[in-house]
């Protein structure tokens, strides 16, 4: 049976944005801290750190999840995707990210990585998502700048663009 002592740092191997990564963590280390401090991937933000604000949302094995409510040790062998992995080409934005920029769907940008991970997942799983579905998924996030309206507008436009291109970029 896999057992780790409280003060023991254990090796954790997982796939991060398609690449194999290894790191070490005590059992109590949150996935968010592991990504930021062990892997140096600071795109995933930490807001409330108890699952309410949604800033830390990442994908674990394809499902959106709160990074701050998962322990690093739990993702051993899993596939994790973060905001850094959305665009496959450095310097280029995805359709959704580009729509966010056009619509001013962010101001300070603190909540944006988590929101992008949720809405990107939604548009992958449900290309025909309507405004109600978008608002439902966005409901798992807090944004104190935008008032959400531009985020909804950007996502609707991105969804339409993606449908017309018949693919997810």
């Amino acid at each position: 049976m896999y057992r780790v002592k409280a003060s023991e740092k254990i090796g954790i191997g997982f796939t991060l944005n398609g690449r194999s990564v290894e790191g070490r963590a005590e059992p109590r280390m949150l996935l968010t801290d592991f990504l930021r401090h062990e892997c140096g991937m600071t795109g995933t933000h930490v807001g409330c750190e108890h699952g309410v604000c949604g800033a830390c949302t990442v994908r674990i094995d394809g499902e959106m999840a709160r990074g701050c409510l998962t322990f690093a040790v739990q993702i051993d062998g899993c596939s994790v995707e973060t905001v850094e992995g959305l665009s496959k080409t450095p310097g280029e934005l995805t359709v959704l990210q580009d729509a966010f920029r056009r619509h001013h769907a962010l101001q300070c940008g603190f909540c944006t990585p988590g929101i992008l991970m949720s809405l990107d997942t939604l548009l992958r799983n449900e290309p025909d998502a309507d405004e109600e579905r978008i608002r439902d998924v966005l409901g798992g996030h807090l944004c104190r700048c935008t008032g959400y309206q531009p985020i909804v507008a950007a996502t609707l436009e991105a969804a339409e663009l993606l449908r017309s291109r018949n693919g997810h970029v």
């Binding site: 049976m1 108890h50 949604g54 674990i60 499902e63 999840a65 322990f71 439902d136 409901g139």
Partner: protein, 275 residues
């Protein structure tokens, strides 16, 4: 908001988990989806010396249904139940209430049994299990037992589970014909903790009302089929019987108002959809 230090163990079978629970009961907590436990650790409201992560026990994942019940094992996610084929027909109340549980981002990891074991009085799954007369299936190395939901929840976040017992699964009865089901909830934001939630089950000659979010455990009442003023009177009596308290989200008076107003709406909706 960093959790205190704990040992971590990841059993691969139920027997292994029960072994650890038996030898380290009292200091151990079971980690399922972590959507309630991890915040409690961060706030230091819980300080277990050991977490038993049951997420990789393969036999605890698959939801099953027979003609009488839906059986949901300990590691089954809320999202899996919400997507379970035929849920709307098998258990209309769950299909209506589950979208109110947290958010898509928490239902993807949060488990059904974890919510039941956590026993938050405002939790939708706790309310549904009480409303439908479901049961909690507990297992330890000593024995297996099944506890009716109305006896399982004994107080605020307190259950009749003993320290060496694992909530191995919960059972929701499958809906029979001739009943209508409705659910309503009031919260400041969709996905927040319910300030008041109500589940109603209506039959041609009887109604059952269950209220969550007000008292330490959901309150369940069965009445003959009531209408109009009689229904309002019964709901008013129920509202005053509950130990409604003031907190930062709502005062006791608002909670009683909500029991009356949401209660009436939910009962009428359930009565209107008797199938």
């Amino acid at each position: 908001m960093k959790p205190p230090r704990f040992d971590y163990v990841r059993p691969e079978t139920v027997d292994e988990a029960l072994e650890v629970l038996a030898t380290e009961a009292g200091n151990a907590r079971v980690l399922a989806g972590g959507q309630s436990l991890v915040p409690m650790l961060g706030m230091r409201l819980a300080r277990p010396s050991l977490l038993i992560d049951i997420n990789r026990i393969a036999s605890l994942k698959d939801i099953r249904q027979d003609k009488n019940a839906i059986l949901i094992p300990a590691a089954a996610r809320q999202a899996a139940l919400l997507a379970f084929p035929g849920l709307r027909e098998a258990c209309p109340l769950l299909a209506r209430a589950m979208p109110w549980i947290g958010h898509a981002q928490t239902r993807s990891r949060g488990t059904v049994c974890g919510s039941i074991a956590h026993a938050d009085p405002s939790a939708e799954l706790v309310l549904c299990l009480v409303a439908l007369g479901g049961s909690v299936n507990l297992r330890s190395r000593r024995r297996r037992r099944s506890v009716a939901a109305r006896e399982f929840f004994v107080g605020l976040m307190t259950t009749s589970r003993e320290e060496d017992e694992l909530v191995e699964s919960v059972t929701f009865p499958v809906a029979r014909g001739g009943a209508g089901y409705a659910f309503a909830e009031f919260a400041r934001r969709h996905g927040d903790f319910a300030i008041v939630s109500v589940a109603a089950v209506a039959r041609p000659d009887a109604i059952e009302v269950t209220v969550g979010g007000v008292d330490d455990v959901p309150a369940h009442r069965s009445w003959a089929r009531l209408r109009g003023d009689d229904l309002d009177d019964a709901l008013n009596t129920l509202a005053w019987e509950l130990d409604a308290r003031d907190d930062i989200h709502a005062d006791a008076r608002l909670r009683r108002d909500l029991v009356r107003s949401i209660g009436r709406r939910t009962v009428e909706e359930a009565a209107a959809c008797i199938a």
